[in-house]
């Protein structure tokens, strides 16, 4: 398997959604190719970092504005 063949599959690989056969191919390739090993590792870290630390509470002021907006024009249209 070539580097660029596996790149498009990496997200599904990380999420565990890929069939076993492809997983095995990717794992075999990653074991041999240090660049791809880094890409897989850092892509996984990216997902984990955002999962653990990426959450952004809605700023109070924005929340107020959204609520105000909901109460005014658009709310009627949405119903």
């Amino acid at each position: 398997m070539l580097c660029k063949e596996m790149l498009g599959k990496l997200s599904e690989y990380i999420d565990g959604e890929l069939e076993a056969e492809l997983c095995a191919k990717i794992e075999q390739h990653v074991a041999e190719c240090s660049n791809c090993n880094i890409v897989v590792d850092t892509l996984r870290k990216t997902v984990t970092l955002y999962h653990d630390h990426g959450h952004e509470p809605l700023p109070e002021e924005v929340k107020q504005r959204l609520l105000a907006a909901l109460d005014l024009g658009p709310a009627a249209d949405l119903r």
């Binding site: 660029k4 984990t48 999962h51 907006a69």
Partner: protein, 411 residues
């Protein structure tokens, strides 16, 4: 030939007595749950469980360990992890909980109904794909089912006057359920339905509602310490904000939004119910639509949607191939990290960012994200992947800043 049939009452199926059928179902249930338990390596959600279980005890209350669940499952997993970290061992709590659930289904249906009902219920539970699936995953869902059933069994025994000692079991199981998953709140409604149903059928003791009320009170008292932690507070806040949009829109009563913290517990109950009914996605959709209406009043942006480098086959090529090394722990704790993550996220085009935020930060499934953003699931997957790849490139600039940055083409 016809004589043989008459000699054995019931014919050739006579061996399959209800009792034997139950035993076969239980065996089958065990087999499905314990077979090949460790054959697959753990996937992302399971990794998150293991990470959470490795945290210090005190850290759970702060919310820095786990934002979506109360701590009980992770504490149980922590205990098992003292014995090792083999995949099968990590999944053992889930498998045990799932197996116990099958047995409890039998006990529950046997105490409420006749043997035929109990046999079929046990078979359904033993073979149900969803129950089997979550009995083999390092997550707390099968334990949630187990606590729910144990509480119902205890409550049924109380209602049918089989010993007041069951009250302690009932309180323990209900409390454990609340400490395992927030949606256990819905199971309380099921408990109420069961008591009402039994009374309506003229079967339960009149004291059953009293047992129920006293049990709820005891469980609530035991749950208050957790509800007062920052972790639970943050979770309630998230539900509250979603519920606020819902309410402002449907009821047209913005005055309800004035006091968020005071109404937090009530919203927690309603929000939990809505989420469990699949309406959680709908709330995101409403908030998304409202935001869209605002955006449509502005001139359309003219940026390119998919600007990263792509190979001839259409996949994006990574440009940064530097290891991040070990990210220092103290860095993870700094506010700086949050700023970096936020800044990288803001460089993404809105089409990619919306998918990434819903999937990887808010934790929606692919199907839910597709529904909220009115995209196909395939589209969600493609955009999620592009967003992750782009973010990885941006973050590399930060985490590998001190190292030599090299770029190469694909092989």
């Amino acid at each position: 030939m016809s004589r043989a049939k008459h000699d054995v009452p019931g014919g050739r199926w006579a061996w399959f007595t209800p009792q034997r059928l139950v035993v076969i179902a239980l065996m089958l249930g065990l087999l499905l749950r314990f077979l090949c338990l460790g054959s697959k390596s753990i996937w992302l959600d399971e990794v998150l469980s293991v990470r959470a279980a490795r945290a210090e005890l005190g850290a759970f209350a702060s919310g820095s360990v786990e934002r979506y669940h109360p701590p009980l499952f992770f504490l149980i997993l922590k205990g098992f992890m003292r014995l090792g970290t083999d995949e099968a061992l990590l999944r053992l709590p889930a498998a045990i909980g799932g197996s116990a659930a099958v047995l409890l289904i039998y006990v529950l249906s046997r105490s409420l109904f006749d043997m035929a009902t109990a046999v079929s219920a046990t078979w359904f539970a033993a073979l149900a794909p969803l129950l089997v699936w979550y009995s083999q995953e390092v997550r707390g869902y099968s334990l949630l089912v187990m606590w729910a059933l144990l509480a119902l069994v205890a409550l049924a025994h109380l209602a049918l006057q089989r010993g007041a000692g069951w009250w302690l079991v009932y309180v323990a199981a209900t409390t454990a359920g609340l400490y395992t998953h927030y949606t256990f709140v819905l199971v309380l409604l099921v408990q109420l339905l069961m008591v009402v149903g039994l009374l309506a059928a003229g079967r339960g003791t009149r004291a059953a509602p009293l047992y129920l009320a006293a049990g709820w009170l005891a469980a609530a008292v035991l749950y208050v310490p957790w509800l007062r932690t920052p972790a639970a507070g943050a979770f309630i806040d998230r539900l509250t904000s979603a519920s606020l949009y819902y309410n402002a829109l449907t009821a047209g009563r913005p005055e309800l939004l004035q006091n968020v913290s005071g109404a937090a517990l009530a919203w927690f109950l309603i929000g939990g119910g809505l989420m469990a009914l699949g309406l959680g996605t709908w709330l995101y959709r409403i908030a998304y639509n409202a935001a869209l209406m605002r955006l449509r009043k502005r001139p359309a942006p003219t940026e390119s949607l998919d600007e990263p480098v792509t190979s001839e086959s259409g996949d994006q090529m990574p440009r940064q191939l530097v290891d991040w090394g070990s990210i220092p722990d103290d860095l993870l704790l700094k506010r700086e990290l949050h700023t970096v993550l936020k800044a990288a996220l803001e460089t993404l085009p809105a089409t990619l960012r919306s998918v990434f935020v819903l999937r990887d930060i808010e934790g929606l499934s692919t199907a839910e994200t597709a529904e909220v953003l009115a995209l196909t699931e395939t589209n969600v997957k493609v955009r999620l992947h592009r967003a992750r790849v782009a973010l990885r490139e941006r973050l590399t600039g930060y985490f590998a800043a001190s190292q030599t940055v090299q770029g190469i083409g694909g092989k």
